[in-house]
């Protein structure tokens, strides 16, 4: 058996569109028309901030994407889930503005737009094309319909689906072109401890000797079921189990009832800091992205991100990145097992031309078996009628009632991470106050930067 090694970045090279030389950065932005980045809003609540996409593009998480997509590329992504370069990519990524803002800016093709964030210069967008979209059409085609994608789409997407509403709420004018970050944001605590862009992450893998690593997607504080999943999924590999387990949290717009991002990151970190999985084998990171909950579609993006970070494997559970019952609960596993032709995959995404190199590890469930007296894998334990499931909402109820979860459900240090941020926000979960502060502060601060005006 050939030994696996760190896969190449998706598309061949990691995108790095960050200017670190201040003089060069200033020159690039001097005299540009400026635009203050605004969040995408729904009923007065921010549901997306394009700054997160710009960060993830420019630091290479979404390689080979390097900017806001031109119209033909958006069409190709929607029809085939391929970029113009043919590489697989799941979502249209665009910089949208209102008609009014477009009129006021007075920019067009060939112009450079300076994007400001929190009042400071952040990035530039070199405009290649300006076009209009129909947000409803983009939203519908992004996620699929029961008619067009009968293999996995069960019911039409509607206003209850957060990802669908992100696309539906976009403005109609798209400025397409490459982004370049000219003023590197500084991450706030505790995000700064977990910021490992793909190039840096690959360096760390090398230092750690992680020839193989399996990625764990999360938007949750880990309970012991998650820990069992990570430990067991990591037994895949080649001649030996995967050397590393990469936890990659998706950090972005939150929904009420979620755990705060800070608790998610520090909760996962507690798993290795307190030895439940030793730190030599476990690492916590994040990607900035306002999750679209696209189940199989989202799993493609997750695969791309983690391959770019250097992972050889990716665990995919039931209902991966899902909300509601729009998709078949096994849609992601179907995609990675046999493909979904109506979404452009006659074969799994790692077996098509210009596809991914990351290897899927489809996993079922873990639950507690009172007979075995341990956490068990649903496909292994024979005492199915005795199963005791660890449900996230069950644990949330316990947390809200102030009950210290027993060690077999949640590690005490993980619970303490929840309480630490509960003390900060006065609430264990995301509430209106958290959303307000998140919208105001984001995850970053920007250093002051003087730019000459146009």
């Amino acid at each position: 058996m050939a030994l696996l090694k760190t896969p190449p970045p998706h598309g061949g090279n990691l995108v790095d569109r960050v200017v670190r030389n201040p003089d060069r950065a200033k020159k690039m932005a001097d005299g540009c028309v400026t635009f203050d980045i605004k969040p995408t809003m729904l009923d007065g609540v921010p549901i997306r901030n394009v700054y997160r996409e710009i960060m993830s593009i420019c630091y290479g998480f979404f390689s080979p994407v390097d900017g806001s997509m031109v119209r033909n590329e958006v069409e190709k992504v929607l029809e085939e889930r391929r970029l113009l370069s043919e590489w697989v990519f799941p979502y249209p990524l665009v910089f949208d503005i209102s008609e009014e803002d477009y009129k006021n800016l007075g920019v067009g093709e060939g112009d450079r737009l300076l994007l400001k964030l929190k009042g400071q210069p952040f990035a530039v967008l070199d405009i290649d094309e300006v076009y209009k979209i129909d947000p409803v059409d983009i939203a519908t085609r992004t996620f699929g319909t029961p008619e067009r994608n009968p293999e996995v789409v069960k019911v039409p997407f509607d206003k209850k689906h957060p990802g669908y509403m992100i696309y539906r709420s976009m403005h109609p004018v798209i400025l397409a072109g490459k982004y370049t970050i000219i003023n590197e944001p500084k991450f706030r605590e505790p995000f700064d401890k977990f910021w490992f862009p793909p190039a840096k992450c690959r360096e760390v893998f090398k230092e750690k000797g992680w020839r193989t690593a399996i990625a764990h997607q999360t938007r949750n504080v880990p309970h012991v079921g998650h820990e069992a999943l990570m430990k067991n999924a990591a037994y895949t590999g080649d001649v030996e189990p995967c050397r590393g387990i990469l936890v990659n949290a998706i950090i972005g717009a939150k929904r009420r009832g979620d755990y705060p991002d800070e608790a998610i990151l520090e909760g996962h970190s507690a798993v290795n800091r307190f030895g439940y999985i030793k730190p030599e084998r476990h690492m916590v990171t994040f990607t900035l992205w306002d999750m679209r909950y696209g189940n199989p579609i989202e799993s493609l993006l997750h695969g791309i991100i983690r391959q770019n970070m250097g992972c050889t494997h990716h665990m995919f559970g039931r209902d991966h990145a899902a909300v509601g019952e729009y998709y078949d609960m096994y849609a992601t596993q179907i995609l990675w097992t046999k493909g979904i032709p109506s979404f452009g995959f006659e074969a799994p995404p790692n077996e098509v031309d210009y596809g991914l190199k990351i290897i899927p590890q489809n996993m079922a469930e873990f639950w507690y078996c009172p007979k075995c007296q341990e956490m068990v894998y649903s496909e292994t334990c024979g005492h199915v009628d005795m199963k005791q499931k660890l449900s996230g909402s069950f644990i949330r109820g316990m947390v809200a009632e102030g009950i210290f979860p027993p060690n077999i459900i949640m590690r005490p240090e993980v619970y303490k991470a929840i309480v630490k941020w509960w003390k900060v926000y006065g609430y264990p979960f995301v509430n209106p106050k958290y959303l307000e502060e998140k919208d105001k502060n984001l995850e970053v601060d920007l250093p002051p930067m003087e730019i000459s005006k146009a």
Partner: protein, 121 residues
């Protein structure tokens, strides 16, 4: 379809059910580390509950979860008072639904954190 509401018992609550006969109805979970009383809820009642509390949901075990703490506290009080796990305890809670909703609304703003040391995190 029947749904369920689980009331987890800590030491204080265990003390409160002593002598009520409810001790015999305790379910244990996770190797005895969790003790709970389970109330069966007919579908029409769970629909009423979901309508009153939009954040509530039914989980993969058919349990109603993400219910307001105020609702669960009131439910436990009725369970103890009536020494019963029958649907009448839910009906009794619905008798005070306006008061519970008022308390639940405050819960979305603030829940006092437990007094535990988190300095090691």
């Amino acid at each position: 379809m029947v749904h369920y509401i689980g009331l987890i018992l800590d030491d204080i609550r265990l003390e409160q059910i002593k002598g009520t006969g409810l001790e015999d109805k305790l379910n244990t979970l996770f190797g005895g580390q969790i003790k709970q009383l389970v109330i069966e809820v007919p579908e029409e009642v769970s629909k009423k509950i979901l309508a009153e509390f939009p954040n509530a949901r039914i989980d993969s075990r058919s349990f109603l979860e993400d219910l307001p703490v105020a609702f669960k506290r009131a439910l436990f009080k009725e369970v103890v008072d009536k020494k019963s796990l029958g649907v009448e305890v839910v009906d009794a809670v619905f008798g005070k639904i306006d008061e519970i909703k008022e308390l639940a609304a405050k819960e979305s703003e603030y829940i006092p954190p437990p007094d535990i040391d988190t300095s090691e995190i």
